[in-house]
């Protein structure tokens, strides 16, 4: 793991001595595996919804997902308010939110299809078309840009052999430009599915891609 850039202690930059592991910084050891049914209702809307394994043809909200959907519904005074979490949930199951998916969500919440499309297209995190197993979002906003984000983005495009917004031939990687990811002290910040990689330089890109490919093999 040491060859993969996770130098950022998540605190005051990549200097000084620190003895925190990646799990310490990410908080994964504390947060643990979150259950599919969402756990406690108060947090049921907060599951990571960019999984590697996903199925565009999966039925919407069955089994534990149905439970989670019910929990989410119970947290708001109106059905409409559950729309964003419900779309998040749909994307977690299917990987992207197609017009058909939007219609299904609309029916579940008693909203019109047109309304749901209007809302879904407002937000950038709903993938309106399928993306690769790993969605690589490179921040190129000002703080990262000052520290070479353009080169990092170019390196990702070169090493995955794709154009901006397209998916690589093996279906593994989609590279997009992102707006500020709120990790400006640790440029360049790259979000890959639900993980942040910070302090990424163009030279680190092959290592990161290798790590991701290895993770796929491990599954």
């Amino acid at each position: 793991m040491s060859d993969v850039p996770f130098r950022n202690p998540g605190w005051a930059g990549n200097t000084g001595e620190f003895d925190l592991s990646e799990a310490d910084v990410r908080g994964t050891a504390y947060a643990g595996e979150r259950p599919l049914d969402g756990g406690h209702p108060s947090t049921s809307a907060s599951y990571p919804f960019m999984l590697v394994a996903r199925n565009p043809g999966a039925p919407l909200f069955e089994g534990p997902y149905q439970e989670r959907f019910e929990k989410i519904r119970g947290r708001y005074p109106t059905a409409r308010a559950a729309l964003l979490p419900a779309l998040n949930l749909a994307q977690e199951v299917r990987g992207h939110v197609s017009p058909e998916t939007m219609d299904e969500v609309a029916a579940l919440l008693g909203l019109s299809s047109a309304y749901v499309r209007g809302v879904a297209t407002f937000y950038t995190m709903y993938n309106k078309r399928p993306v690769g197993r790993f969605l690589i979002q490179v921040c190129t906003n000002i703080s990262c840009n000052l520290c070479g984000a353009d080169e990092v983005l170019a390196a990702f495009l070169k090493h995955t052999d794709t154009e901006l917004g397209d998916t690589s031939a093996d279906g593994n990687f989609t590279v997009v430009e992102a707006e500020c990811l709120a990790a400006c002290g640790f440029p360049t910040c790259v979000q890959i599915n639900e993980r942040y990689f910070e302090d990424v330089a163009a030279g680190d890109v092959p290592d990161i891609l290798r790590r991701l490919t290895d993770e796929l093999k491990g599954d």
Binding site: L20, R34, M50, F122, I142, C147
Partner: protein, 430 residues
């Protein structure tokens, strides 16, 4: 447990638990004095809690700097309707990365802050609106909230006081404008995140049409400390008009970028040269954006005598905003960076108001043209004209946020623009 990096000029109120994974648990957080603030609030009652925060002079940390206690006091008493507390954790202002640190290292600090705020305004439900990109951060907060529910700190009859406060995490889906308070409310209600016209103000008609108060993560996180130790204790730091400590997010061309908690009124040059270890590679300072991308750019000269408090930065011709200090060295291409900001605002404009929708898009195109060497000197006048029409003419301040960096950069770095224009003319002539 060695901290990654510590500076002895820092004052650790909010950031005390940063870097300590144990501070994420209820037990660990109690070792830092956690949940004593809400205990004291429950003891002294609602009005006294609001007074304590009012007397502390705490100002909103989300950018506008509105006095928090005053905001809370706007909430109606005994309206007979549900009240909502909203926590704005949709941190997306370029240059800002403080809320994420607060949540992922000390999630209970935020939960306790939300409890104090909810109790003070009489809200029985608090929604924490997190930006969608914060998966890891959200997971930490989710675990912490579950733990707080398990231990009876949140939910029905909190800490045996008879007060019910529910809390729900609501995850957004990637829209900068949802960080605007009424945009956030629309987004929470399942609508497009378009800001609403004010009045009515949220204290009268907010989320779900009910009286609501919305506060930034850092603001809420500071309130338990204030209630626990008292307003006078908090006023030992900072200035008369800007009391307390603030997390400064420093990014850009410095040796040690990061979050530093300093008393307000701290000199800017000391922050850059001492706390952040000086400019990277010993380069000279060219410009600073002191409060996230939405404020006027400052030249190196403006920075010399500037102190980092609301009134100090204003005197230097800019705004403290959320104290996100973006530092640029002598090699920085200002036009490129302003163009990148303009692109951001054009992308994030919700499109409701014409001056913003058209203005941000056209400003981006003109800036791109200048950057490519195809601009003329008239373009600078056009940019200023567009920017002036974008100021104060829209529902929210997103378009003002772009107008300020454009106008200030042309004023202060006109030579940079002219150099690109002249270079283009020479190429054209050849």
């Amino acid at each position: 447990m060695a901290y990654p990096y510590r500076h002895d000029k820092e004052v650790r109120v909010l950031s005390e638990g940063f870097g300590d994974p144990a501070a994420r648990t209820v037990e660990g957080w109690k070792r830092y004095g956690g949940y004593q603030g809400i205990a004291r609030a429950l003891e002294i009652g609602r009005d006294a809690t609001i007074d304590e925060v009012k007397n502390s002079g705490l100002r909103g940390r989300g950018g506008a700097g509105f006095p928090t206690g005053l905001k809370w006091s706007f909430m109606p008493k005994d309206s007979g309707r549900p009240h909502y507390m909203l926590c704005n954790a949709d941190e997306s202002e370029p240059g800002t990365f403080k809320d994420r640190e607060i949540i992922r290292w000390t999630p209970h600090q935020l939960i306790e802050g939300c409890l104090v705020g909810s109790y003070a305004i009489g809200a029985s439900h608090c929604y924490i609106y997190l930006r969608g990109e914060f998966f890891e951060t959200t997971n930490v907060l989710a675990r912490a909230l579950e733990e707080a529910y398990e231990k009876g700190l949140v939910g029905r009859d909190i800490m045996g006081s008879g007060v019910d406060i529910d809390m729900t995490l609501h995850v957004g889906a990637g829209a900068y404008i949802c960080g605007e308070e009424t945009g956030l409310m629309n987004s929470l209600e399942g609508r497009r995140g378009e800001p609403r016209i004010k009045p009515p103000f949220p204290a009268a008609v907010g989320a779900f049409g009910m009286p609501s108060t919305i506060n930034n993560v850092e603001t809420l996180a500071a309130t338990p400390h204030i209630v626990r130790h008292g307003a006078e204790w908090y006023r030992q730091w900072g200035t008369e008009k800007s009391p307390g400590t603030k997390l400064f997010c420093v990014s850009g061309h410095v040796n040690r970028p990061g979050n530093y908690e300093l008393p307000l009124g701290f000199p800017m040059m000391e922050l850059i040269e001492d706390v952040c270890g000086g400019m990277r590679d010993g380069k000279a300072l060219k410009a600073v954006i002191p409060g996230g991308s939405s404020v006027p750019i400052m030249s190196a000269d403006d920075c010399r005598s500037c102190t980092l408090c609301y009134e100090g930065v204003e005197a230097a011709g800019s705004l403290l905003g959320c104290a996100s200090v973006i530092v640029m060295d002598e090699n920085t291409d200002i036009v490129k960076q302003v163009r990148r900001m303009a692109y951001f605002y054009a992308h994030e404009s919700c499109g409701q108001c014409t001056p913003c929708r058209e203005g941000t898009a056209w400003a981006t195109r003109i800036l791109r043209r200048i950057e490519d060497g195809l601009g003329t000197e008239d373009d600078l006048d056009t940019l200023i004209e567009i920017s002036e029409q974008m100021t104060g003419t829209t529902i929210c301040v997103l378009s003002d946020s772009l107008a300020m960096p454009i106008i200030s950069s042309i004023e202060k770095f006109r030579e940079d623009y002219l150099a690109l224009i002249r270079r283009g003319e020479r190429v054209g002539a050849a």
